[in-house]
Subunit: 452 residues, 2 copies
C-alpha cells in the first residue's frame, strides 16, 4: 500500500495539539485544536483519538493514547512539535499531517531526519487546513461546519489561502468534491505522490491543482502525462511575474521558474491551465459533468437575441466556431415554429417554453454539424419559467457524446435555475463568456486524450 494512502484513508487518526499553547505565525492555538477535533468528531467515520500535550490533571502518555493510530494530525507550534513527531514515529504511526507552520530550516531538517529514521511520511508542515476526504468524512480543517458535497473533483492546493478560497467556493456553489488537500511546504510528500494517489483514486474523476512552484518537476510532468490520458488535470499557477514569483518564493519556499517554462511543461503534461479560481472551479464542474467536445462547432439555443449574440462573440473569442446547422435541421425548426429564424445563434423568441427547448435542442444535438450546445434561458423579459428547464438534462442525456451547458441571467435568474439544474448533469454559468470557456476546456481535453 502506498503510504500516501494513510493521509487520506487512515483507520485511526490521532489529533495532537495543546489546550494552552498559542503561537501566532504558525497558527497554533487551543481554538484551532478544538475546532479540528470537533470537525473530526462530527464528520469522520473512522476512529478519532485526541492527545492534548497540556491536559490538566495528569501527564499524558502519547504511547498509551495513540498506539493504534496510523495518521497523526500535528497542531503544535514548530518547536514543541519536533519531539512529539518523533514519539509518533517511534510508536509506529505511518504518516504525520502537520497543520501548523513557522518551521525554521533546522526544524525542517529534524523532521526529515525523523522521516528517514522511522520511514514515517510527512505532509506539510504549514498545510493550514490539512485534508478532506468526503468518502470517509476525514476533515482536518478548522472552519466550523465546513464539509463540501460528495463528488468526483479533487483539489490540491499549495497555498492555505487559495485552498480556503476554493473550499469556500466549492461549499457555496455545491461543487462535488472527492478529496481536498492543502500541501503546505512539501518537505516530504510532494505533488508527484499526491498526483499518483489521485490518479489511482476511484472517487476522483477530475484533478485541480494550485501551485506556486513545483519540486521534482521532471517526475511531476511524467506522472501528470500518464494521468491526464485517463482523467483531466487542471492547473492554476500563482506567481506569473518576477515580482509575484518572488513573493511566492518567500510564501511557500518553492522555486518558481519562468512562467513560459511552466506553461510549456503543463502543455507537455497534458494539463489544462486556467487563469483564475472561478475558471478552475467552472472547468472542473464542467469536466466532471459533461463529455469532451469532439469538434469546434457550437450551437447556441436561446430565448433572447442580445445575450445569444454575446454568446456567439464569446465562442469566437475562445477560438471555437459557430456551427452551421444543416438545411434539414433549419427547415425542421422553422416549419415547426413559424417566426423563429433557425440561424445559429438560434433565437427561439421570448415565448419559448420547455416544449420548444426540448424539440429544438433535440434537433440541434442530432445535427452532425454540431459538436456542443450552449443554452441560454432568460427568465426576465420572457415567458420561460424555472421548471421549463427540466427538459434540458433529459434531452442532453440522449446525446452522451455532445456537451450541453446552460446560461441563465447572472443574478436572481441564476439562483432560480440553479435550484432546478444545480444537481443535474448540465453545468450552469452566469455569463455566456464563462460557458464558452467551459466548452473550450471540453474541446481542449478531447484533444489531450487523442494526442497522448
Amino acid at each position: 500500500m502506498d503510504e500516501v494512502n494513510f493521509i487520506f484513508e487512515p483507520r485511526t487518526v490521532l489529533l495532537i495539539g495543546s489546550s494552552k499553547m498559542r503561537e501566532k505565525v504558525g497558527m497554533a492555538s487551543p481554538q484551532l485544536f478544538n475546532n479540528v477535533t470537533n470537525n473530526m468528531r462530527k464528520y469522520y467515520s473512522g476512529k478519532t483519538l485526541v492527545f492534548d500535550t497540556h491536559r490538566k490533571g495528569h501527564k499524558a502518555d502519547l504511547m498509551q493514547v495513540g498506539e493504534n493510530a496510523d495518521l497523526a494530525i500535528i497542531m503544535l507550534p514548530a518547536k514543541e512539535s519536533i519531539p512529539i513527531c518523533e514519539e509518533c514515529a517511534k510508536i509506529g504511526i505511518r504518516a504525520l499531517l502537520i497543520i501548523t507552520g513557522g518551521y525554521t530550516e533546522d526544524q525542517r531538517a529534524k523532521l526529515l531526519g525523523i522521516k528517514r529514521k522511522y520511514k514515517t511520511r510527512i505532509l506539510g508542515p504549514n498545510t493550514i487546513m490539512g485534508v478532506i476526504n468526503t468518502s470517509n468524512g476525514l476533515n482536518t480543517t478548522f472552519e466550523k461546519n465546513i464539509m463540501p458535497k460528495k463528488g468526483n473533483i479533487a483539489v490540491i492546493s499549495q497555498s492555505g489561502g487559495v485552498g480556503a478560497y476554493l473550499l469556500d467556493w466549492a461549499c457555496f456553489f455545491e461543487v462535488g468534491i472527492s478529496k481536498f488537500c492543502f500541501v503546505g511546504d512539501k518537505i516530504d510528500i510532494n505533488d508527484v505522490e499526491l498526483l499518483r494517489y489521485l490518479g489511482r483514486d476511484d472517487q476522483t474523476g477530475v484533478i485541480c491543482i494550485y501551485v506556486e512552484g513545483i519540486k521534482d518537476g521532471r517526475n511531476f510532468i511524467e506522472e501528470a502525462r500518464k494521468i491526464s490520458k485517463i482523467k483531466p488535470i487542471l492547473v492554476l499557477k500563482g506567481g506569473i511575474t518576477q515580482e509575484s514569483a518572488h513573493r511566492a518564493k518567500s510564501h511557500t519556499a518553492s522555486i518558481a521558474g519562468s512562467d513560459a517554462i511552466f506553461d510549456a511543461a503543463f502543455k507537455k503534461a497534458g494539463m489544462i491551465r486556467v487563469e483564475n479560481i472561478e475558471e478552475l472551479m467552472n472547468a472542473a464542474v464542467t469536466l466532471s459533468k459533461q463529455p469532451p467536445m469532439q469538434g469546434d462547432n457550437v450551437a447556441i439555443v436561446s430565448n433572447v437575441g442580445g445575450p445569444a449574440i454575446l454568446a456567439a462573440d464569446a465562442v469566437s473569442r475562445n477560438c471555437l466556431a459557430l456551427a452551421s446547422l444543416s438545411k434539414e435541421t433549419k427547415r425542421k425548426i422553422e416549419n415547426r415554429y413559424p417566426g423563429v429564424d433557425a440561424t445559429n445563434p438560434i433565437d427561439m423568441i421570448a415565448d419559448a417554453k420547455g416544449e420548444r427547448y426540448s424539440e429544438v435542442l433535440s434537433l440541434v444535438l442530432a445535427d452532425k454539424n454540431v459538436d456542443g450546445v450552449m443554452i441560454i434561458n432568460m427568465l426576465k423579459s420572457t415567458f420561460f419559467e424555472p421548471k421549463d428547464a427540466k427538459v434540458i438534462p433529459k434531452v442532453a442525456s440522449k446525446y452522451p457524446n455532445k456537451p450541453v451547458v446552460d446560461v441563465p441571467a447572472g443574478g436572481e435568474d441564476f439562483v432560480k435555475l440553479h435550484r432546478v439544474l444545480g444537481k443535474t448533469s448540465v453545468p450552469l454559468f452566469n455569463l455566456p463568456e464563462k460557458a464558452a470557456r467551459a466548452l473550450k476546456v471540453l474541446r481542449i481535453y478531447s484533444q489531450i486524450v487523442k494526442k497522448h
Copy 2:
C-alpha cells in the same frame, strides 16, 4: 425642454394596451399590459392613466382618457398600434414609448410619418421593457416587483434580453441605478439624444451602453466625447464577428460595422470598452464609488499569501504595476507587526483583525508610491470576521484621491462581507482578477479625463 425628457420625466403617463389581443412575435398580451399597469401603479409617483382598447361594456374614448398625458406607453400589436399612435399624437401627447415589436418596414414608415406630422417623439418600437427612472418611480417593465435600488448608474440597452440581463444583475447585487432605458429599434429617438439627456441628468454619474450597431455614428462619437470628460461612459458591444454581427443586424435592424472601427471610435469618444456583462456592472459600480486612479501603482493588503500572489498576477495582467512601498512605510509596518514582511503584496498574516487592516491600510494609502489599493480579506482559514471590515471604508474615506477595492473569497465569504460593505463606498469583488480589472478601469478613466 428637450423632448427626450418626456420619456423619463413625464407628469402624466397613459398606458395603452388590450385586455384581449395577443400577438406572439411582438410580445403583445393582456398579461404584459396588466403587469406594466401594476408596476406603474406600484412605483410611479406621477399620475397613471390606463386605456384598454378592448374594455368591456362601452367603447373607450382615447381623447377623454388621455388628454392630459404627456407620455403614452404603447403595448398593442404593431398593426393595431398605428391608428392609436396617431390619435395620441393628435391629442397632444408629446412622446410615445412603444414596448411591442414586430413592426414591418411599412409600419415603421407610418410611425415616422406621425412623428413628422405632429412632432411627437417615439422611443422604439420593440423596446420590450421600456424605461425605468428610480427618481420618480417610472417603471414600464413587465417583470413583477422589479425595481432597482436608487443610485447614479444609467443603463441604455439596445437589446431587450441584454437589458433584462443587466436588470437582473443590478437588482440581485443591489447596484444603484438612476435610469434604465431599452431602446429597441430606434426609429426616432436615438443613442445620441439619450446620451445627451443622460449627460445632463444630475442623477446620473456613470453611463453604461450596450450596442449592437450605432446610427448617426459621427454625432454619437461627438456627444460621447463631450460627456466622457464629465462622467464615464462604459460600452459593451455585441456582434464582434462577421457571424454574430449578421445576427445582430437581423435582431435589432442595426448596421454593424467592423469591430476594429467600433473600437477606434469608442477610444476617440473617450468611452471605456468592456468585454462582458459582469465587467460592465463591476466597472460601473467601481466608477460610481471610487475616484479615478492617478497612476499605475497598486498595493495589495491581504491576510493570506496565495490569493495575494494571484492578485499580484492580476495586477500585472492588467498592465498595472505593483507599487514599491517606501522604506519608511515598510519600516513602520514591520516595526509595528513583527513577523509581517511588508513587501508588496503585503501578507499581514492570518491573525490580522480590524486594527491591523486599519493601520496598514492607512500607512499604505499615505505612501506617495501608491496610487490605489486592493484589499483581500479572507474569512476562512483566518481570524478575520465580517465586522472587522468596517474599518476599511473609514480609512479609505481619508484618502479621497486613491481608490480602494475589496476582495473576499468568492462564495459564502463574499455574501458575509457584502452585508457589511455592500452599501459603503468600497466596491467588492469575488476574485482578485475582477478587482484588478476594476482598478484598471479607474486608471483608464483618469487618463481619459486628462487627455480630452
